[in-house]
């Protein structure tokens, strides 16, 4: 075939970058089975001890907390993003569409640190939320939002919404509005049209969004690190602590493997569940 040289010219760099990534992951796997030598960056021989250590309550709870925070965040993100995505796709007003897309997408590109810092200003004991609520006389003593799971989730939801909005807006924009009109003509109330037609037709987007945000949140680091302040530990924070405070690279590698397996495991489970949901809600023609 004539196109062969071009084909290999495209294939070779793609394989090289994929291989580099796999090598990096293989390094982690390799380290996770090595013995930790305190006070040294060199590692010892093969051992299972790192994986046995996961059983300790502090690490075990970090894993549970990671899943819990990811689930809560995905749920809130979904519920709060749907209306915005709906408005973004369906509004006829140009200025509003521009406003919505800029406001919804920009936070995605300001970065983890800027956003986390902003939430530290909002959530602190003397932060804006507490100051505002106190001056309005709604509360007398400051709410504790920093260093709590709630605070971490509040910040993570805002962080996750742009991605969810993009995925939901894509799904909503593919809904043929004729179905909605037909349902309305047949006497369905707007609420009923929404719940019985629009939502089921966008179910693939809803599921994709939920899965992506779950995986995304499980890998959050700066937000739990700064807003959790050591009181809320996710797997990411444990990896950093053991890796850089204790210089225990082997165990940090082990927790990274746990994070990796959790992320892909959660993905597989949700894919399995989603296939069932999609079958249940698909409109059969």
């Amino acid at each position: 075939m004539q196109t062969r040289p071009l084909f290999f010219a495209l294939l070779l760099p793609s394989i090289v970058i994929a291989a580099v990534f796999l090598f990096a992951l293989a390094e982690i796997l390799q380290y996770s089975f090595r013995e930790f030598i305190p006070g040294s960056l060199d590692v010892g021989g093969f051992t299972w001890a790192n994986f046995a250590r996961i059983n300790r309550p502090i690490y075990f709870y970090a894993i549970v907390d990671t899943f819990w925070i990811a689930l809560l965040t995905s749920l809130f993100t979904l519920v709060m993003s749907y209306p915005l995505a709906y408005a973004l796709v369906r509004t006829e007003r140009n200025w509003l569409r521009t406003l919505l897309i800029i406001a919804a997408i920009t936070p995605l590109f300001t970065g983890e640190i800027v956003r986390t810092y902003a939430w530290m200003l909002l959530l602190g004991t003397e932060g804006m939320i507490n100051t505002l609520l106190k001056s309005l006389g709604i509360i007398d003593t400051s709410l504790t939002l920093m260093y709590t799971r709630l605070g971490v989730v509040i910040a993570l939801v805002q962080f996750a919404m742009p991605v969810m909005i993009i995925l939901l807006a894509t799904a909503i924009s593919h809904v043929n509005t004729d179905y909605e009109k037909a349902a309305a003509n047949l006497g369905a109330s707007p609420g009923r049209v929404f719940w019985r037609v629009t939502v089921p037709l966008t179910m693939p987007g809803i599921i994709a969004g939920f899965i992506v945000i779950c995986a995304w949140t499980m890998s959050a680091f700066a937000t739990p690190q700064l807003i959790g302040g050591g009181k809320i530990l996710m797997i990411s924070n444990v990896v950093y602590l053991t890796g850089f405070s204790a210089l225990n690279f082997p165990f940090a590698a082990t927790m990274s493997v746990v994070a990796l397996v959790s992320a892909f495991g959660a993905l597989a489970v949700m894919k399995a569940i989603s296939t069932r949901i999609e079958r249940g809600t698909a409109l059969h023609s």
Binding site: A18, I28, P107, G111, E112, P190, F221, S256
Partner: protein, 267 residues
């Protein structure tokens, strides 16, 4: 009228959600003009001293330069690689295509700190830690899925018949690629490159692992500052970044059409 209360309720909800999404940005901007070292709401006065400190602070200057160098190389490399991957996936059928696609989109699922840690270990092995090279490689891997998606979407709008026509007229595959396909993909390429550059400039979790004190990028330098000081310097630098990003988004939306790049155009 029945529709009115529904519409009112809906738009109230939308406004509340928009406030939630944009409030952090406004608070940062407000805090950045705070005159004292201790933040107060509302600010007692107005001062630009933190902006002056932010742009003259040596750590931030070096980190900003590092970030630009890394982002320039990483986004350009990712653009070339992303175009190659997108073309491969869209135009060729070969064994292992699914596997290659899966590996290259895995960085979306693999936690960033895991990727960063992996490259730290790999860098130690190859003795390239403390260099820009390891940061650039890590960033290329991390932004590649986004670039590939942006290019893939724009490639779908290129009719393969145009390439066949060029081939029939005697163009070599490379020539038809460079003269027909690439020009038609330009909006996608521009969008993908921009996205890659911004993601690289703002990447934090993986960068924390692969940067050294000499090569640290801006988000890492900001993180180190937040851990040591509480004054509003970070607010000033964050405000600058937020304003810059918003302006870039407005310009990108105007020229490239964000809805098209993100594939949320209604039918």
């Amino acid at each position: 009228m029945k529709m009115d209360w529904r519409a009112l309720l809906f738009w109230t909800l939308i406004s509340a959600l928009l406030v939630y999404m944009t409030l952090p940005a406004f608070v940062v901007i407000m805090a950045s003009f705070n005159p004292g070292e201790v933040l107060s709401f509302p600010p007692k006065g107005f001062s630009v001293r933190w902006y002056i400190k932010a742009v003259t602070y040596p750590d931030f200057q070096i980190a900003f330069r590092n970030g630009i160098i890394v982002a320039a190389f990483a986004s350009t490399l990712a653009l070339v690689l992303g175009a190659a991957v997108a073309l491969l996936v869209a135009r060729y059928k070969f064994q292992g295509r699914g596997l290659l696609e899966a590996i290259l989109s895995a960085p979306l699922i693999v936690p960033h700190f895991t990727t960063g840690f992996g490259f730290l270990l790999l860098g130690a092995h190859l003795d390239i830690n403390q260099t820009y090279l390891i940061i650039i490689i890590a960033h290329v891997v991390l932004v590649l899925p986004f670039v590939t998606r942006a290019i893939h979407v724009s490639l779908q709008n290129v009719d393969p018949n145009l390439e066949r026509a060029a081939a029939n007229l005697g163009a070599s595959p490379l020539k038809s690629l460079l003269r027909v396909t690439v020009p038609l993909m330009l909006p996608g390429l521009a969008g993908g490159w921009l996205m890659a550059a911004i993601l690289s400039l703002t990447e934090f979790s993986a960068s924390l692992y692969v940067t050294a004190s000499r090569t640290q990028t801006l988000p890492v330098a900001m993180y180190n500052y937040i851990r040591e000081y509480t004054d509003p310097t970070i607010a000033a630098i964050s405000a600058l970044l937020i304003v810059a990003t918003t302006l870039i988004m407005i310009v990108a939306n105007h020229f490239l059409g964000l809805r098209k790049i993100l594939a949320i155009e209604p039918r």
